[in-house]
Symmetry: C2
Subunit: 220 residues, 2 copies
């Protein structure tokens, strides 16, 4: 199984049993999350900005206005760090100390570059759209040359990454287990329901099957 090398940068030192370096594990988390947080440095100042992402092979794709601080910074080739976090549950232990969360998180390191060619840009925008809503790209009006030109697209080869995952019930100290305190996990779901049609939408346009089929619908 392909793994990322463990280096000073991506090594998980706290609770190493939660650490994962397999590409397949890391890529599944990237693909499930709807957005990421991008960290970069200007001067000595760290910035963290949330944005949509998609993965194309071993690269992360981001987009935005060409004039945005984030896009300009990434396409200049500076070091960035991308964090992606899925919260799966609140872990309620009998002791304050052992409270936790169940989560799947990824941290990615790399340096990006601008995607310049129209054809590659279109492919990247398709990947972003299909990441957000599989099936959507074929249904919509594609970017025209003016829109394509106004959009900055960057690609970041994933140089190195690691995942951290916690699952399962709380782990209390043995001497606390008999305390009469409720303990367990409240599972968290990030779901959608009850689509809100655009007020300007004609009544003759039904909600497409690919939207109804998305796994993000609530099915508890």
């Amino acid at each position: 199984m392909a793994k990322f090398p463990i280096t000073k940068r991506n090594e998980i030192k706290r609770l190493p049993k939660r650490a994962k370096y397999e590409k397949s594990t890391i890529y599944a988390i990237i693909d499930e999350a709807l957005y990421c947080h991008v960290g970069f440095v200007e001067g000595d100042q760290p910035y963290v900005i949330p944005t949509m992402h998609a993965r194309m092979g071993d690269n992360i794709i981001l987009h935005g206005s060409k004039a945005s601080r984030l896009i300009r910074h990434v396409q200049a080739g500076n070091e960035i760090c991308i964090a992606i976090t899925l919260l799966d549950g609140l872990v309620l232990a009998r002791s304050a100390f052992h409270h936790s969360m169940n989560y799947r998180s990824v941290v990615i390191f790399g340096r990006g570059h601008a995607v310049e060619k129209d054809e590659e840009k279109r492919a990247a925008l398709e990947a972003l759209m299909e990441h957000m809503m599989p099936g959507r790209w074929q249904d919509i009006r594609k970017p025209n040359p003016m829109e394509l030109n106004a959009t900055g697209v960057v690609s970041i080869p994933i140089e190195n990454a690691s995942a951290k995952i916690r699952t399962g019930p709380p782990i209390d100290d043995e001497q606390d287990e008999a305390l009469p305190i409720w303990a367990g996990v409240l599972p968290m779901y990030h779901v959608t329901s009850s689509p809100q049609p655009d007020p300007k939408l004609g009544s003759a346009v039904p909600i497409p099957e690919y939207i109804l089929q998305t796994k993000r619908w609530i099915q508890l």
Copy 2:
């Protein structure tokens, strides 16, 4: 209404109509989110790490192992950036270009310090617990001296911050509005359901009322 000053660091230049600088708006987002992403710099390398947070007045509280990179870095007084993002919906437009997300996000700038006194540390841990699950602190076994000593707690006065908020339907170009393409918002909810009791929990311990009352239960 109290506002954060607009500076080079926190000014939102892209889509400024989405920008908010009011404390009340910013603090409501901080208080609703269950976790944040903390950005910091080591050497020239940016890092972004997800973690739980709480707000005490004008300060953000974080905690972790005393030995963790994040806690050591924050308590050394380095510049950090904290991003908090709530995803409220997928905005599906008729054109690729106008797809978006509805969200409420906050970016916070500041420098932290260690919370050292046991009494202040306990108050900060209580704030973290009550942020995660209101009503929980009074119910559980409090930290003992050994646990308190092993836990690093930091406080970051909020020097400056801004929020960015998008709501509402997609905004397509007028000439696209008649296209026979479904457009609208898929609202996103981060909810809990079906608590999973710890397998070691005795059957005589019911799920407490404050958990059943939490607003994070699904009510669609």
